[in-house]
């Protein structure tokens, strides 16, 4: 919650604006910042208010008006009754699909990234940098270029249309980024540490478990958050590699919103969108600092 600390903190002494011109400038600055804040908050506000209105009120009222009568009917429908094509079970089963798929995929890819990063950063051998470059390169390919062979490969492995198949795909294409995160973190640890541990008789695994992993908490948090956000929000793999019962929540949301049958229930659409976005939003609010670090780690490498 560190990002909200500024809210409660005692007013800091700002360089005292003396001249009227500076005061006007200060006001302009704050109104601009406020206007932009409105721009970013508007969609969330509209989603929330729309989801709490009845369809009738949506048709008669204004986009930004508060609900006259708050109803949670749309939320109930979105969670357990909305139709994604022929099935009408709401988002619930798909939400759990996303949980079942994201948790193992995040854990496995983070663990592999930690091991890979540790080796590349600390156990120098010929070709290690080449391997790292090869993995890094894999981060940047548009996934379209592997979509067709991956679909065939999953079929061949007997994993087509299954959650383990999706986990597999997310792990494989997540390795590049997780390795990058850990490698860049471990590179900053002096290599004398490994040398000293080796002199003391510690082996490869011992050094990893007892020395490196305990140091790694910040980068583990960054990586887990990054991977969770990526995998939870993924749509391309979800829509390409799943089938009727195994779709992740993003695919189900899109099916609810873009299903053409029946009356368009905008309030249900909005409730469903909030439900699908809630887990990552929550992670962001609780651990925003690490979220930003992950975002910038990929692009501003030191």
């Amino acid at each position: 919650m560190s990002d909200f600390s500024a809210f409660s903190a005692a007013p800091r002494a700002v360089a005292a604006p003396a001249r009227p011109g500076q005061i006007a400038l200060r006001w302009l600055l704050f109104s601009l910042l406020g206007l932009f804040a409105l721009f970013y908050l508007l969609p969330l506000f509209v989603m929330l208010t729309t989801s709490l209105k009845s369809l009738e009120e949506i048709r008669s009222g204004s986009l930004v008006s508060l609900p006259r009568e708050v109803t949670f009917e749309a939320w109930r429908t979105a969670w357990s009754g909305a139709c994604t094509g022929i099935q009408c079970e709401g988002l619930r089963p798909y939400f759990w699909n996303s949980v079942l798929l994201a948790v193992p995929a995040v854990l496995i890819s983070t663990f592999l990234g930690a091991a890979n990063g540790y080796i590349i950063a600390q156990w120098h051998f010929r070709g290690a940098n080449l391997i790292f470059s090869a993995m890094l390169f894999g981060c940047f390919i548009p996934f379209q270029v592997v979509l067709l062979p991956m679909a065939r490969m999953l079929g061949w492995m007997g994993l087509a249309g299954t959650i383990p198949g999706l986990i597999f795909a997310h792990v494989i294409y997540g390795i590049g980024f997780t390795t990058l995160f850990f490698r860049n973190f471990y590179v900053t640890i002096p290599s004398d540490l490994v040398k000293a541990a080796k002199v003391d008789g510690a082996g490869f695994f011992r050094i990893f478990w007892s020395i490196f992993l305990p140091l790694s908490l910040p980068i583990i948090v960054v990586t887990v958050i990054w991977q969770f956000t990526q995998i939870w929000n993924d749509f391309l793999f979800g829509v390409s590699f799943s089938q009727a019962g195994t779709q992740p929540v993003t695919v189900a949301l899109n099916n609810i919103v873009n299903s053409t049958t029946g009356v368009k229930e905008y309030n249900v659409d909005m409730a469903a969108a909030i439900i699908a976005g809630l887990p990552t939003l929550l992670v962001y609010v609780v651990a925003g600092k690490y979220f930003i670090r992950g975002l910038t780690a990929g692009s501003v490498k030191g």
Binding site: F36, Y40, V46, N116, I120, F143, L236
Partner: protein, 290 residues
């Protein structure tokens, strides 16, 4: 013997990941490249027929639209997101009391799925009940904002949603950059009586050149991969007015049953990405070895 084995352990632990990357990245790219040179339709065929798929691709009006859209969307999305992100970063850099809260507000869209973003904006821009209806109810009867259903404007609707989602991220990048500029230099400039805007244009911004490049790369990458946003916001429509290469590829692969076209369009997408990313990666990796 034991010592030798001990030395092989790191390689053995790294090997599975490396082999997986070799097969699932490089092998698969090779497979797609091969298929793009065949006459595969519903099923892959492995006899080579030269560039026939690429000729079909470049002759297809739908692909033309997709590429035009990519460049239009990419230019606007990158340009506006960079400008807005930089503006926000500079505004936030003026010792604002509520900076933490504002930063959180500007950046939260980046945590959302593009499907959620697309769904929200589709509703906001709904001609019958969204912004258009709202402004009309204020008395501006002739106000019109139907971009999502107008074939000529729909791509701009995608730009709005895209900028909303990504500009906060650019802001975070630039803000980090602004903060890393040596404060001694800025103080010295202030003592010399150099006006604030000159300090930005002459000292701070030039020193942030690498961050402009990073932001550009990340945004370009996002633009080329944009798939979910278009699917949720316009479904590629009206007609195929907002098709991007990514939606074209998906349509060919999974609904048209034309994997030759899917493969060749994917290869072109990769070409575009690499034209932008490879020089950057190369310079990054070189800089590290120096």
């Amino acid at each position: 013997m034991h010592a030798w084995l001990e030395r092989q352990i790191p390689k053995m632990v790294l090997a599975p990941s490396f082999v997986a990357i070799l097969i699932f990245v490089y092998g698969f790219i090779g497979w797609t490249a091969w298929i793009s040179l065949t006459r595969s339709k519903l099923l892959p065929k492995y006899d080579l027929y030269g560039l026939i798929q690429y000729r079909r691709l470049f002759a297809a009006p739908r692909w033309d639209t997709a590429m035009d859209n990519l460049f239009l969307f990419g230019a606007l999305f990158i340009g506006i997101a960079m400008a807005l992100g930089l503006l926000l970063a500079i505004l936030l850099d003026q010792r604002i009391r509520a900076e933490g809260v504002l930063r959180t507000i500007y950046l939260y869209p980046m945590a959302l799925s593009m499907i959620v973003t697309g769904t929200a904006w589709k509703w906001i821009m709904n001609p019958g009940l969204g912004i258009e209806a709202m402004v009309r109810s204020w008395g501006f009867e002739s106000f019109s904002f139907n971009w999502v259903i107008d074939p000529d404007r729909a791509i701009y609707a995608v730009v709005i949603a895209g900028v909303w989602q990504a500009s906060g991220f650019v802001m975070a990048l630039f803000l980090a950059g602004l903060r890393s500029v040596d404060s001694e230099i800025i103080k010295a400039a202030q003592i010399d009586g150099i006006p604030g805007w000159r300090i930005y244009t002459a000292i701070i911004l030039p020193s942030m050149a690498p961050i402009f490049l990073s932001a550009f790369i990340v945004l370009a990458h996002l633009a080329i991969k944009s798939f979910d946003l278009v699917v949720a916001l316009t479904g590629g429509g009206p007609g195929y007015a907002t098709d991007l290469p990514a939606t074209y590829m998906y349509a060919m692969a999974f609904s048209r049953g034309d994997i030759g076209q899917a493969a060749s369009s994917a290869m072109v997408m990769m070409g575009v990405v690499f034209a932008i990313v490879v020089p950057y990666l190369y310079s990054e990796l070189r800089a590290k070895h120096v």
